[in-house]
Amino acid sequence: MPTVRMTVNGRAVSGEIEARTLLVHFLRNQLGLTGTHVGCDTSQCGACVVHVDGTSIKSCTLLAIQAEGAEVTTIEGLATGDELHPMQAAFREHHGLQCGFCTPGMVMSAVDLVKTNPDPSEQQIREGLEGNICRCTGYHNIVKAVKAGAKAMNAGAMKG
């Protein structure tokens, strides 16, 4: 079986995998990073979104072997210790999650969205989250959270 090596949440990892192994299954089953979820099989729902080399992708639609040498960030790698990333904190503050299943993908997408558009309008947030389906919240509070999260990320960037 081929061996794949990558950096996940800052840690160098490797594993023997079948070529057909999806990145999400490598993360969940081999690395035990179960925060990344699988909610569909047609690349629509976005529960599996992680960052690969700095941009958001659907880890159910990428072979693990294709991530050879890549820098991968999952939801587990977003917070600094117990201190939530500003986007995570904003989701909590604005009740942008209920059952929590879509949440990791939603947060990872939101962070990527704000990276390319630091001050998104409500409409841009709604369109920017097109690839993430939530069945619980009706998106109302997610939109509020992303708006607040963007503000906090910008403030953090200015400070930092």
């Binding site: 057909r20 690349s43 629509q44 159910c60 990428l62 072979l63 294709q66 990527d112 690839g131």
Partner: protein, 263 residues
């Protein structure tokens, strides 16, 4: 999905060799259609040849009164490219409408063309702008490239390397998305080019095609009303849960009119 042998060549020649050596090899570019297809076990290639390691296939450059986009350039790069935005803004806007953010971060122009999904967006731009598809073997004019449902002029062992887009006088793309999949239920690309008006339609049937009736009407009178006034024959369109042939035919005129308005 079934298992397969995986190859990651560094150059096109090695990719062709790997493809030739495989029992039933398939090329993977962005994988946005192929991986779901493999997951559903609708295809079971013996070998996957991944083009993501070939640096030569990536990038956007200005070239001979237009732009050239490498086959492995992601949709997000095209959408964000200042080069594309200044030369052919309609192309950047179209790229921004493909799939969702994550699909755009991974999907490639070459993959989209080689797959030729009948509801994909890119084929409308390639045909609408009269672009040229470059391969490891030759150049293929857009009018010759698309050959029906998931069929292209590509031959065995032929790999798309880049697409050259001549700069149009003006152009715009308008898409009516299928509500569930967000693919084009109907997408219309309208361009005023050196060679005349070109109107390309995706989502309507067995692949992208030119709406010549609308082209004629717009050649005479380049206004939204002229496009809207053309009634297309529903018999030329397919129907499904989301749109009857009549609906699709009407949407072509509507989207064409809106594209003209945006030109």
């Amino acid at each position: 999905m079934h298992n397969f042998n995986y190859h990651r060549p560094n150059n096109v020649a090695d990719a062709v060799t790997a493809l030739g050596g495989a029992g039933d090899g398939k090329i993977i570019a962005g994988g946005m259609t192929l991986v779901p297809t493999l997951k559903q076990r609708l295809a079971a290639p013996s070998d996957l040849i991944d083009l993501n390691g070939i640096a030569d296939l990536k990038g956007i450059k200005a070239e001979s009164d237009g732009i050239t986009i490498g086959a492995m350039t992601r949709h997000a790069e095209v959408a964000a490219s200042s080069l594309v935005k200044s030369a052919i803004p309609a192309l950047a806007e179209l790229a921004e409408l493909i799939g969702d953010r994550q699909v755009r971060n991974r999907g490639t122009i070459g993959g989209s063309l080689a797959n030729n999904d009948p509801a994909a967006d890119y084929p409308a731009a390639i045909l609408g702008l009269g672009a040229t598809v470059r391969t490891n073997k030759r150049e293929i004019a857009a009018d010759d490239f698309f050959q029906g449902l998931f069929e292209t002029a590509l031959e065995e062992g032929e790999i798309i390397t880049a697409v050259h887009f001549p700069k149009p006088e003006k152009a715009a793309y308008r898409k009516f998305a299928q509500p569930a999949s967000r693919f084009a239920l109907i997408g219309v690309f309208v361009a005023k080019t050196k060679g005349g008006i070109r109107v390309a339609v995706t989502g309507g049937g067995n692949g992208v095609f030119r709406a010549t009736d609308i082209e004629t009407a717009l050649a005479a009178n380049f206004t939204p009303a002229a496009a809207k006034g053309v009634k297309l024959d529903p018999a030329d369109f397919n129907g499904d849960l989301h749109g009857t042939p009549e609906y699709r035919a009407a949407l072509v005129s509507t989207m064409a009119a809106r594209a003209v308005e945006a030109c």
